[in-house]
Amino acid sequence: MAATEIDVKYVAHLARIALSPEEEQKLGAQLGNILGYIEKLNQADVSGVEPTAHAFPLVNVTRPDETRPSMSNEDALRNAPAKAGGLFIVPKIVE
């Protein structure tokens, strides 16, 4: 059950989680261990097997295309960290 090296810094950036150097190191070791265990899946014979994304695949679950009441603007903004004029305020994205 060999540990696997993973580029924690890169993956943390994909996941948008800022980690301290200590966290990066600790996580790297723990995840390496876990991934080493997960290697055992390579022993399973999956030839010709369809993947299961969902236990009971439903398809085309729709409702009539009619307007129904939804959450008010006020309720939607209630937990906003920053808001003004009925909108969420965020740091500038585009210069």
Partner: protein, 488 residues
């Protein structure tokens, strides 16, 4: 004392006007005041609001309103991962800050429509990730049978609150065993319905193809009652299934004569504690004496279940937890641009287990690794599911221990995440296959006296069968009458 009653016992008393909903609610609040400083099942609760709901229930009871409200006046507490309008929603995490739910989850709406007094936020592993309730940002919950030990997780608060008689029943959620395992460790009944049985609208998603809401109760009848109230298709959850809802609470009789119980040979493994094995063996013999037929079955892909789960669940979690970015909600940590804001908000707000799983999930979905990990895990999931479907051609239900050991000590496994994951071995396949499962008490370890759980796994939408088997076993034993030291 009213807080020690079951749903059936309490509703009978309320109907006969032998007690009021207010008295019952006050009894629960008194018990919380007595024991929760030690147990810490609750993150918070609003006593005034609970009593106001009780008064409203009493008005309805006075005018005979209990006819189509099977839970009228019954105090039920809720795991902190379900939206209850106007109440805090934290999912055991710091990241949600002072979030107040703007709506009721469908399951909560159904409880309220049935007259329940819905109160309290029960402690849990952060975002339902954990098996011990040691990953909460709000402190550890302690097992009412031995307060140096874990109650299980992630619905540890839900299990402990019922075991300590702090309320009549609770709701939890189960993604890899998070209802059944704490139920076993705390000596109560806990059920995960089939995937799609209960709407997930208003349940903060961890793994969308695995999550289900379910009840914790003091006996099997109460579980059937709550399942009946909460089940059914919901247009707000496109994964909820259209199967009709049987009268679960009326179909518990019938015994087990002629039913075939499967014993999976792969489950009697090395790491199984001898006392757990002994209790489960005795329970199986008891079921045989009550008329069931025992059949050995094989679930050949059992050994892959934990690895499969920790790829699929973490992958889905990495997608579901992407929403916690500080934009529309969260305890935002500012940054010079949104990317920095996301990184800092999530870095500060997520606990170590959540970070571990989100990063693992991101990795297994990332370019170059998707096929090797995620796609392969989905294929193994098919094999695991087929193992169960094949076994259910031969048997009506499968019987196993719920956990390999009784409750371990707080801190014992928290340094080794992999060890913690491996303890989920018996519960995890059920979620991957989408089938139903429940745990009920089947004995105790000797010293210290700790509960042991028996797990029954049923076909997809086969809840009636496992409830009937569980009820028959329960009524033929006295485990369910024993109370935790903290409850006395």
């Amino acid at each position: 004392m009213l807080n020690q009653l079951t749903i059936a016992e309490l509703t009978a008393k309320l109907t006969r006007r032998e007690a009021s909903a207010r008295e019952a609610t006050q009894a629960c609040l008194d018990q919380i005041n007595r024991v929760d400083k030690q147990i810490h099942a609750f993150i918070s609760f609003d006593a005034a609001d609970a009593l106001a709901q009780a008064d409203a229930a009493d008005k309805l009871l006075a005018s005979g309103g209990e006819a189509n409200m099977p839970l009228l006046g019954v105090p039920i507490a809720i795991k902190d991962v379900l939206a209850v309008k106007g109440q805090p929603l934290n999912c055991g995490s710091k990241i949600l800050g002072n979030f107040i739910s703007p709506y009721d989850a469908t399951a909560i709406q159904k409880l309220k429509a049935a007259g329940a007094i819905v109160f309290g936020r029960l402690n849990m592993d952060e975002f339902a990730m954990g098996s011990s309730t040691e990953n909460s940002a709000f402190g550890v919950t302690r097992n009412p049978w031995d307060t140096t030990r874990i109650p299980g997780g992630s619905s540890g608060g839900s299990a402990a609150a019922v075991a300590a008689d702090e309320c009549i029943a609770t709701l939890g959620t189960d993604t890899g065993g998070s209802i059944r395992q704490p139920a076993a460790l705390c000596g109560v009944v806990g059920m995960k319905p089939s995937y799609g049985r209960i709407s997930r609208y208003g349940l903060v998603a961890f793994a969308s193809s695995l999550d289900q809401i379910g009840p914790f109760t003091k006996n099997v009848r109460d579980t059937a009652t709550l399942l009946e109230v909460m089940s059914g298709i919901d247009h707000c959850d496109s994964t909820s299934m259209p199967q009709p809802v049987p009268r679960y609470a009326s179909n518990l009789g019938g015994g087990v004569k002629g039913l075939k119980l499967g014993l999976p040979k792969e489950y009697m493994i090395g790491g199984l504690d001898p006392e757990v094995k002994q209790a489960v063996d005795a329970a199986v013999k008891k079921l045989e004496s009550l008329g069931a037929e025992l059949v050995e079955v094989s679930l050949p892909h059992t050994d892959y279940a934990v690895a499969t789960y920790y790829i699929i669940a973490t992958a889905e979690a990495s997608a579901n937890l992407a929403r916690f970015d500080g934009v529309r909600y969260c305890a935002r940590v500012d940054g010079k641009d949104p990317i920095e804001m996301y990184g800092k908000t999530r870095g500060a707000g997520f606990g170590p287990e959540v970070k571990r799983r989100v990063i693992l999930g991101t990795y297994v979905l990332s370019s170059g690794y998707y096929d090797a990990y995620y796609l392969r895990a989905q294929k193994v999931r098919t094999l695991i599911r087929n193992d169960f479907l094949k076994a259910f051609e031969k048997v009506d239900a499968i019987v196993t221990p719920t956990t390999p050991t009784a409750a371990f000590k707080i801190g014992e496994k928290s340094d080794d995440p992999l060890q913690m994951y491996l303890s989920d071995i018996f519960t995890i396949s059920c979620n991957l296959a989408g089938i139903c499962g429940l745990s009920l008490p089947c004995g105790f370890t000797k010293s210290p006296k700790l509960p042991i759980g028996l797990q029954l796994l049923g076909k997809p939408f086969g809840e009636e069968t496992i409830l009937r088997i569980a009820h028959t076993y329960e009524q033929g034993t006295t485990w369910h009458k024993e109370k935790a030291p903290s409850a006395q």
